[in-house]
Amino acid sequence: MFFTVGMVALSFASHGQNQLDKEIKVDKVRASVKEKFTIHGYVREKGSGEDLLGVNIFDVRSGKGTVSNYYGYYSLTLPSDSIHLKYSYVGYSEDSRLLFLNSDLEINIDLEAGQTLEEVVILSNKPIPLHEMTQMSSINLTSRQIESMPALGSEVDVLKVLQLLPGVQGGHEGSSGLFVRGGSQDQNLILLDGVPVYNAFHLFGFLSVFNSSAISNVELIKGSFPARYGGRLSSVIDIKMKEGNNQKLKGNATLGFISSKFTLEGPIKKGTTSFMVSGRRTLFDLVGKPFLNSRRGETGYNFYDLNIKLNHRFSSRDRVLFSIYNGRDKAFENEKFTTEDQNNPELPDRTENDASLRWGNTTSIIRWNHVISDKLFSNISLVYSDYTFRTKDRHLHEERSLEDTITVIRRLDAQSGIEDWSANMDFDFIPSPAHYIRWGGNIIAHNFTPGITAFESSFKMDTVVGALKTPATEYNLYFEDELTISSRFSANLGLRFSAFDVADSLYKSWQPRVGIRYLVFPGLAFKASYSKMIQFIHLLTNSGVGLPTDLWVPSTDQVEPQESNQYAAGLAFDLADQYQISLEGYFKQMNNLIEYEEGASFLNREANWEDKVEAGNGRAYGTELQIEKRFGRTTGWLGYTLSWSNRQFEVINQGRRFPFKFDRRHNFNLSLTHRLKDNVLLSGSWVYTSGIALTLPLQEYSGELILIARRGLGVLQDIEKRNGFRMRTTHRLDLSASFAKKKKHGERKWIVSIYNAYSRRNPFFIKREFRRDKDGVHRLRFIEQSYFPIIPSIAYQFNF
């Protein structure tokens, strides 16, 4: 049955207090009532042109909708009819369109960010209700949420904000390490604009490499992994860099306690081409120079990072993005001096020492987004990622005499790292609101350098020890469909195939992924998921804090890939459009985990790493509760995690199961942000976590006589259980206040932070010390050292 529609010029009812729906003119066409048409386009931020991912787009009348993808693109196919489209995104004013749909349409939407208190109050926007999403075990944070959180030294750190979420445990006090659902640090796939970052830490693990000024969005997935993600067992942390304002030049500069930074973004060609540059550098070495340097030489530490992004739209269908990140840390000590030789006072001996540690990442991606059709979106990219750690130690000593000069030279160069090149193709196909299909694949060429040490001395030829470079190739293919089966039931079904070719070994893996959602009653959904994950690379670490000495190594014929099976189930509840409540339980079995064997240390570099590791299994389970409020003057979340994480290795701990080092039974956090005035934002977070596990000897006893004779060491220690002890509970209150003021050329902001406001002595590590008791007897004591008492800080920021 056909009918004809004349020129449609719908008049729009006002929606909200200050918004009018826009007029859409639709040409006269013939349309079928059974015919379907597709609306597609991009959703961007008004004023900057920044893509908005995860925007909820739905037709109020039919109740059908979709979500914008990673690049802000959306596609919604509906039957020809009058429709009322709403675009909503948290923190942004809502937009809507009323139209009669009788042809395919391209609608690009600019959503306006809520800037002031008044705007926040009137915003009718809301996030996608939790109960409507099939995806579970996932959290999305915007740059605004991240930047509003209190921070150590006023240096906002994305990874430390993620530590405040349920299911995520921090490492040692003050560090940026992440341990998600009982997994190890290497089981987090940390992506910066889609590029893996292998060492995400500056400052020996105390600060992440992600400059918050350059970030637009962060998504954490800790379970129910869609098939498009793979390569790690425990989490995906997808960090998206800002694309650069394509409307006007903007920027900011911040002078902070830990680092100072700047960001500049703007159009190269308005509306078409934009750039973003952001840089950051610590000032430790410059501030500390008068104290650390001497006439003999200098000692210091510094880090920097630089983010650059270029974004060009060729047309509404084609866009190219290029981004690069480079960051480096350097700790150094060098000295030169002479010492008088009594036999030759006129010819003093000369000594030179030069030692340094350098490490850092370089990542880069060039990406082409192409809208093949209204329903099919493609993304093709070339990716480069490199992490290198180098240590250098040179010693020169010259003893000079009238006859000759004796020179002693020692040189040690050690290097480790990983370099990746990869090509990726991804497609989004949205044939109808009932299906969101994604497929794609990639090839990754890995090049591992798992620890090479070069020695040179006056008396010895150059020697190179350790494992040589190991190339490996990884292949991934995936297919997933997010399907709406009924108004109550939806699912995400996917399958991923991975293969890893290294030396003479080829590993293959099929990884099914299933996520389901069932609407129990309006507002409440039951969700469940299963994910099999495989990880072909391993991180060898003694410290667990993200030290640059940690080694990335591949799976080999001796070391099999890690794999996990994770099951999760839970409830998602949206209460009065104000609160989102989620309660989840999970169980994760991990196989082929590797650990250094007993007594192994990265300091022992001669042995091949494969000879120093043991393979075993892990098990993690627990429950997580999160209550989040995303609107109004006061926003924030409350999170609680009850969890267990164990490991079992045949020859470690005599084969008995033992707690994972960062197994923490309870983890409670409360994070709140309150906008006191237009220009005053207060925030605070309180964290309470069980202490981390550690291994301590409890008793001593005598060993063999021969050991004493040779080493003066004969007393053995009884280490009854691996990780059998717990440090004290950690809790801490962090506060922050920012005061903004409009100035002639922009806005200045003072950010005052107090880390550990009540100066809780949270333990950092254990030190053994002999101390005298009250009764005067010397006793060995285990002292919990704390390095982060109350630390106030202030930062100055200028936005223009």
Partner: protein, 334 residues
């Protein structure tokens, strides 16, 4: 300029103070002492069967370990379920140390000597008790002897602790590993000017360093960064890569006297030099006890090393009660 400098220093000082160190005690629960025995026994007449018995102490107790020997332990030893005569307490200084100062790191008492010579193929069981501490048990056996086929001695250029190339002694020892079973070995060398002074209880054997990298020792003796420092008491290795085959192990011997003899310039000091090469076939528990003790001690000062648990075949106690079988070759240099 002065003002700027003052501000500069003041700011840095403030930063340092605000990040100052704080500390708190970690409570260690009280521990009940456990019995500790060391008895590694071999077949044949060349070895005395000794038992060193002591008790453990809390890690926080700073009393010298020499105070924890047990002179009144009740020791019952069974050979194939037949009770043997009890070992007798002996004076540790007289018997073992010969005046050597052990710096309070070894029990001053608690050494017992058995007059029984263990036999290959026999099964042995120990029941040890001490009033107020408890009772522990262990079982072990004497494995078969593995014969040394050949021994060769030579000189090679090696690097000393100052990375200076010097002449060193090198030895190659060949033996046939019994097949279809895991075997555990302990190789050590003793050097003496005359054969009679080769003492089975001599604890001053030279340090050895393995030259077979494929052996992949369970101890950390191949650590290139720890200078030329091998662990005492010889080399412990397994037959994982040569099960059932003839194998030649090559190793350096840190003994200048031996080097001088090999180079023919020993001078007037000694006319002969006796070098004993001993290869012990260990029971598995014997091997792992010795390996893990060495491993624990070798990494004690490395803050990044993974902790090492010493393996023991004594349930609810510490130490070792395990057998070995030794073959040896004495090379006389003139």
């Amino acid at each position: 300029m002065i003002r700027f400098s003052t501000f500069y220093k003041g700011f840095t000082l403030l930063a340092l103070i605000s990040a100052c160190e704080q500390s708190a005690d970690l409570a260690i629960p009280a521990q009940s002492p456990k019995l500790n025995v060391y008895s590694s026994f071999g077949a044949g007449d060349n070895h005395d069967w000794i038992f060193v018995i002591s008790q453990s102490k809390s890690i926080v107790d700073t009393t010298s370990i020499s105070q924890f020997g047990i002179p009144n332990a009740e020791i019952s030893v069974f050979e194939n379920d037949v009770l043997l005569p009890s070992p007798q307490l002996v004076d540790i200084q007289e018997y073992f140390l010969n005046g050597f100062d052990i710096g309070g790191q070894f029990p001053a008492t608690g050494m017992y000597l058995s007059n029984i010579k263990p036999q290959a193929g026999s099964q042995y069981r120990l029941i040890l008790s001490s009033e107020g501490i408890g009772t522990i048990e262990a079982e072990s056996r004497i494995p078969d002897k593995v014969e040394i086929l050949t021994v060769e001695l030579d000189t090679v250029m090696v690097e000393d602790v100052n990375q200076i190339a010097v002449t060193g002694a090198n030895a190659r020892l060949r033996f046939k590993d019994p097949g279809n079973q895991p075997n555990f070995y302990h190789l050590f060398v003793e050097i003496s000017p005359d054969e009679t002074s080769l003492n089975v209880n001599n604890i001053f054997g030279p340090q050895l360093r393995v030259n077979n990298p494929e052996l992949n020792l369970d101890t950390n003796e191949d650590d290139i960064l720890s200078e030329y420092q091998t662990l005492p008491g010889g080399i412990f290795f397994r037959d994982a890569i040569f099960d059932g085959q003839e194998y030649e192990i090559s190793f350096s011997i840190a003994a200048q006297l031996l080097v001088r003899f090999l180079r023919g310039n020993a001078g007037e000091e000694f006319s002969t030099l006796n070098v004993r090469f001993a290869l012990r076939n260990l029971t598995e528990e014997n091997y792992w006890y010795h390996v893990t003790t060495r491993l624990q001690l070798s990494v004690r000062n490395d803050p990044f090393a993974e902790p090492v648990q010493v393996r023991s075949n004594l349930e609810d106690g510490f130490g070792l009660f395990a057998g070995f079988n030794q073959d040896e070759v004495i090379v006389i240099l003139e």
